[in-house]
Symmetry: D2
Subunit: 341 residues, 4 copies
C-alpha cells in the first residue's frame, strides 16, 4: 500500500528518535525544567532571529490553539479567523469550549486578507450596538493554510499592520510551518514570522516529531503564569523532556528545514507527475498538500493501492482528494504512485 | 419627542402594573414557589393547549437563550441558528461563554429554512471527519425574527420534521412572540408553536412586562434539575413573584394577545403612512418592526423630533432605519409622526 | 400565618413601588442609559462619599457575584472565601461554572479573618508547587455574613491591608448591606466599605426592591467593557429603568437606611422576646437574622402559625431555625409572635 | 547526584522504547485508529478481566482527569474528592476550568472513606436547599493516593456500594496504579478495580512510558462521542500510535506489573534502610513513595548529593521530604543512598 494520506503516518524522524534513545536514561526534572527544553528554546530563538522570544512546548495542535487563544482573549472577546480555519472547522469546538466565539470571515484559498480583516473591524467599531456583540480580540491565521497555501511577506506585513492599528495580537498556526518555509516560491522566513506575528507555533507533530508544538511569543507578550494556564488545559507533560529533546534535535543543524525540504521536493515531483498525466488540480498549492479532482471511478481503482484523503464531493461523478507528502515520503514511493496513475 | 426606537421604552402595561400593586404586600415564598407563578403556569398551559407543558420563568432574553441552550446541549454539541440570529449576533457571545458553538447558517429575511437545515445535517453526517467537528445538537429560530418576519405554519412543520428526523430539539425564541401571533397574515397559533417546538419562550419584556420571559417545554423534556441550572446561570429571582404576577396578568383575559394586537394595528397604520408618502421599505415585515430606507438628509431632519433605530448604512447617501411600535404606541403618536414625514 | 421566613417575602417598599408607578409611562432608552439610572448612580456615589465610584446595576445576588468575580479573575485564578460563604455554598456552583475555583478557608461565625487570609497567602507563595495550583486572585466576604454577623471597621481595614499587600481586589457581597449598616453596634459606614473594598454591591432585592443589586467599583477598577460582560452573563435588562428607578428611590432621603433600620428594630425586639422567654441563641447576631435552637416539639407546634427557616439539625431532639425580619416586618407581628412563643 | 525526586525522571522503560524504535517507520492511520492501539486495548481488557471494557488513550494525568470528569458530569454537578486529592490541589483548577466544583471532603492519609461519602450524601439529600447547591455527580479517588497509601478491597467495595446506592460513577485515578497493584500487602487486583469502579485510568507516564494514560470504562458507560470530547479538550494525538505502541509494550508479558514490582522492591529496601538508621516516617506507605521527617540540617547536607522532594515544613527545625523510587531505580542507587544517610 502506498500512503499519501497525511503527514503524520510515521513515527519520528530517525535523527529525532536517535536523540530520544541517547537521552532516555538521563535523569531530569519534570514539566519542562530540563536542559533539553532550555537548549531547544535557545536554538529556536536563534532560528527566529529573536533572542528574547519566549518559548513554551505543548503536545498537539488543537491543544496549542485552544491554550494560546484562551490565554490571550478577555472573556468578552473572540478570535477572528478564516471560515475555513482549523479552529473554526476541525477542532471540535475547542475554542468555544473555553468560552470564546470564533469570528469567522470569508477567505480565499484558505487565506484571510488584511482588507477583509480591516473592513470587519471598521464595521464593528462603527456599529452602535458593539457593546452587545463579541469584541474582536485577536487574529488567527494558519501558514500553510488548511488548503496548503501560503501568505506572502507583504500579505503578512499587511495583516500585521491592521492588527497593530487595532491593537490585536496576530497569531499564526504553524502546524505545517516547515513545509511552508521550504516552499520554493515563498519569500517568508521564520524571522519574518517572528517579526510580523505576536505569537505563533512551530509544528512538530507533522514535521518529524512524535508529538509536540513549540509556541513562540516573539514580542514578549507571553501571558503571566502561562505555565499554569498550560497545566490548567491539561497540556503540561510531566516528562517535558519528550518535547525538549525532540525540538532540540529538530533545531540542530537545521534538521527541521532539511526534512521539510524533502517533503516539498517529493510534493513537487508528484505535482509534476499529476499534471503531466492530465489530472486536474482543485487548487494550486506550493506546499506538501496537493488537491486533485478525480473521477469517482478512478478514485475507486486507485484506493486499492493508495491511501489518500477524501476531501469533498465535487459533483455526482467527481471527488476532491488530497495527496500529502511528508519528511518521510520517498522519491521511490512517488515513482510507484506515478506508475499507478 | 416621538419615540419609535424600540418596543421596550415604557414600563409595564397598566394592567400588569396594577396587579403588582395589588399583590405587593402579600407574603410569598421565594424562587418561584408562589401561587402567582403557579397560576401563571396554568394559564400558559391552557393558552398553549398543552396541559402538561413545563414552564419556568426567567428574567431576560439573552439569559433565557443562554440557559436553555446550555441546558440542552452536550459539551460536544453546538446550536444551529440563522447567521442573523440574535444568539449569533447580539448577545455578546453568551452562548459561546457556556462552551458551545453557534453553527450559523444562511437565512432569508432572518428565516432559517428546513431545506438549509437538512442540507447542513446531511453534509455533516456524510463527513468522515465529523468526529473532529462540533456536532449539531439543537436548532434555534426566532419568531418573529430579528427582521420582524414570520414563519408560516408549514415552514414550522417542516423545521420540526427535520429536527425530529435528526432527533434535535427545536427551540423558538419568542422575545416578541405576541407581535407575531397577532400579525394579520399569520396562520401560526400559540398551540402550533407548542406542537412544533420542543421548547420556546414567551417574551414578556417586550410585550407588556417590566421584565420576564416564560420558558415552555411543551413536550416534557425540561432538563433534570432545571431550576438549579437556572440558579447557576444567575437567572433565579429571589422574588420570583415579580415574574409570576406579571405573567398571571398577561395571561388573564387574553391581555397578552390584546396588547400585542394594538402594537400590530399601529404598525399597520404607520406602514400605510410610510408607503403613501413614498418611503422605500427595506424589507416587507408583517409585525411591529418596520425597516425603511431613508436619505441621510431626511434622517437627520427627522431625528430632531423622532427617536428611531439606526439599522445600517445602505450606501453613502442612504441609511436603513427601524421604526418599532409596541403595546404602548398610540394612534395619536403615529398621526403626529405622519405629519412629520 | 406569621412570616419570619426570610427578608424577601413581600414585594417592593411602598415608596419604591410608588416611583415605579409614577415613571411607568415615561419613555426611556434601554440597557441602563436612562436618567433614573444616572440619578441613582450619583446618589450612590454621594452615599458612598466616593464621587468617582463606577456603578452598574444587576438583577440578583448570585448573578452579581458570578459576574463580578468572573470579570476580575484571570483564568488561572480563584476567589478566596469563607467556607460558609454564599458563593461557596448556595449559588449552585455559579462561580465554578465560569471556570474558577472557590478557595474556601475556615471562618468564625461566617467571618474570614485577615490572619487566616494572610496565612493562606504566605503558605501559597512559599509553596514550590504553586505553578500547579490555583492562584488566589481576589477575596470575597459578605457583610452581613450568611450568619448575620458583621465585620468591625478594624477587621475590614486589616482585610483590606492584606489584600493590598498581595494586590488582590477585596469584594464585599452586600446582599443585606442595609441591615448591616443600621445595626446598632456597628462602626462601619458605607463610606468605610467604599474605602476598604475595591468593589462591593448594595443589595436591593432584600432591602426594599423588587429586584436589583448595585455594584460599586469604588477605586476605578471596573473591568473594561464591563457592560458587555454583564450582557454576556445574561444580566443586562432591556428595561434597565426598572433598576434605576428603584435605586433612585432607595437612595432618595436615606430611604435605604431608614427601612433597614426598621428591620433592625423589629429584630432587636424579637431577640429580646426570645431571650426573655429563655430561648437559646445558636449564635449572637447584630442584624436582621436570628438563629435559635428549638426543641423539635416546640418547632412543630410553632410551625402551625409561623413560617420560619429550617437551618440545620443540631441533634436528635433539637433544630436550629432562623427568624428573619425585613423592612416590611411590623412590631405588631413580633408581638403576635411573642404571644405564640 | 542520586535522584529520588519523583517517578518520572527518566524516559521510557527500555522495552517500551524498543517497540517505539521497531515500529517507527510503519505507516499508520492517525487519532488512535492504528493496530497498536487496538492491540493495546485488547491486552488491557484481558488484564482487567473485562472483555467489554472500553479503552481510550490520553496523554497526561491532569488532562485525563479533566476530560473524564467533565464528560461524566452534568453542568449542575460536581465531583466528590478527598481534599488532598490531586484534582483538588495540584491540577491548577483544571476541573473548575470546565465549570465543575470539586466537592472536597476530609480524608485520612489521602483516603476517602465510604462513611464520609455516605454521610455527605445523606446530608446533601436531606438539605431542603439542595436545589441551590452543587449536586454530587461522581466520586473521585486516587489509588495509590497522593500520599502513597492504598485502599483495601473491602474499602473499595464499600465506596462502590455507596456510589451505586446514589447512582454516582466511581472514578479511580491510577497515575501510579502499577505501584499500587504490586505493593506486597495489597489485596486489590486490576480486575477488582475494573469491578468496583465505573471508570479508571492506568497511568503510563509514571510507570514506564514517555507519556500516556489508558482510560478504562469497565461498565460500558463511556460517554457518547467520547473521542470528540477528547479532541475538544486538546487531548487527541494525531500520532495516536505513540500511545498505542507504548501501552501495547507495557501490557505484553506483564511488563507493566514487573517494572512496577521493581520500584516497590527498591522502595522496600530504602524504607528498611531509613528505619534501621532511625529516620522518622511521616506516614506509613506501602508503595513507591516514602515520606520522612528530616532535621533541616540533615536535609541541607543530604541535598548536596541527593535530589528529593520537599513536601512541607513540619516545624521550625524539621521538614517533611519525599523519596520516590520508580521502575528505573536500582538497588545500587539505594545502597549508595544508604551510605550517605
Amino acid at each position: 500500500m502506498l500512503v499519501f494520506e497525511n503527514d503524520y503516518s510515521e513515527g519520528a524522524h530517525p535523527k529525532v528518535l536517535q536523540r530520544l534513545i541517547e537521552t532516555n536514561m538521563e535523569q531530569m526534572s519534570g514539566y519542562g525544567c530540563d536542559p533539553y527544553c532550555e537548549a531547544a528554546k535557545e536554538k529556536i530563538q536563534k532560528a527566529c532571529e529573536c533572542p528574547h522570544a519566549e518559548v513554551q512546548f505543548l503536545v498537539g495542535g488543537t491543544q496549542t490553539n485552544q491554550t494560546v487563544i484562551a490565554s490571550l482573549l478577555r472573556s468578552y472577546e473572540g478570535v477572528i479567523a478564516a471560515d475555513t480555519g482549523h479552529v473554526n472547522q476541525h477542532e471540535a469546538g475547542a475554542v468555544e469550549y473555553t468560552g470564546h466565539k470564533v469570528l469567522a470571515l470569508p477567505q480565499e484559498a484558505g487565506k484571510l486578507s488584511s482588507e477583509t480583516v480591516r473592513a470587519y473591524l471598521r464595521r464593528f467599531f462603527a456599529d452602535e450596538n458593539q457593546e452587545h456583540m463579541v469584541f474582536p480580540g485577536m487574529v488567527y491565521i494558519s501558514h500553510p493554510t488548511e488548503y496548503g497555501t501560503l501568505y506572502t511577506k507583504s500579505e503578512l506585513a499587511a495583516l500585521s499592520a491592521v492588527c497593530e492599528e487595532y491593537k490585536l495580537p496576530l497569531y499564526l498556526d504553524g502546524a505545517r510551518l516547515g513545509y511552508g518555509l521550504m516552499s520554493p516560491g515563498t519569500d517568508v522566513t521564520l524571522a519574518d514570522i517572528a517579526k510580523y506575528c505576536d505569537v505563533f507555533y512551530i509544528g512538530g507533530t507533522k514535521v518529524g516529531a512524535l508529538c509536540g508544538e513549540a509556541v513562540v511569543f516573539s514580542k514578549g507578550r507571553m501571558p503571566k503564569h502561562f505555565l499554569t494556564t498550560v497545566k490548567q488545559h491539561g497540556a503540561l507533560l510531566a516528562k517535558g523532556r519528550l518535547l525538549g529533546v525532540q525540538f532540540d534535535a529538530l533545531f540542530t543543524d537545521c534538521l527541521y528545514m532539511e526534512i521539510s525540504k524533502q517533503a516539498i521536493e517529493t510534493a513537487e515531483l508528484l505535482r509534476k507527475v499529476l499534471k503531466e498525466k492530465g489530472y486536474r488540480m482543485y487548487l494550486e498549492t506550493p506546499t506538501n498538500q496537493i488537491f486533485v479532482v478525480l473521477e469517482n471511478e478512478t478514485l475507486k481503482k486507485l484506493q486499492k493501492d493508495v491511501r489518500l484523503s477524501f476531501w469533498e464531493s465535487l459533483d455526482e461523478t467527481h471527488t476532491v482528494v488530497r495527496f500529502a507528502t511528508s519528511w518521510a515520503t520517498t522519491k521511490e514511493s512517488v515513482e510507484k504512485l506515478a506508475k499507478l496513475l
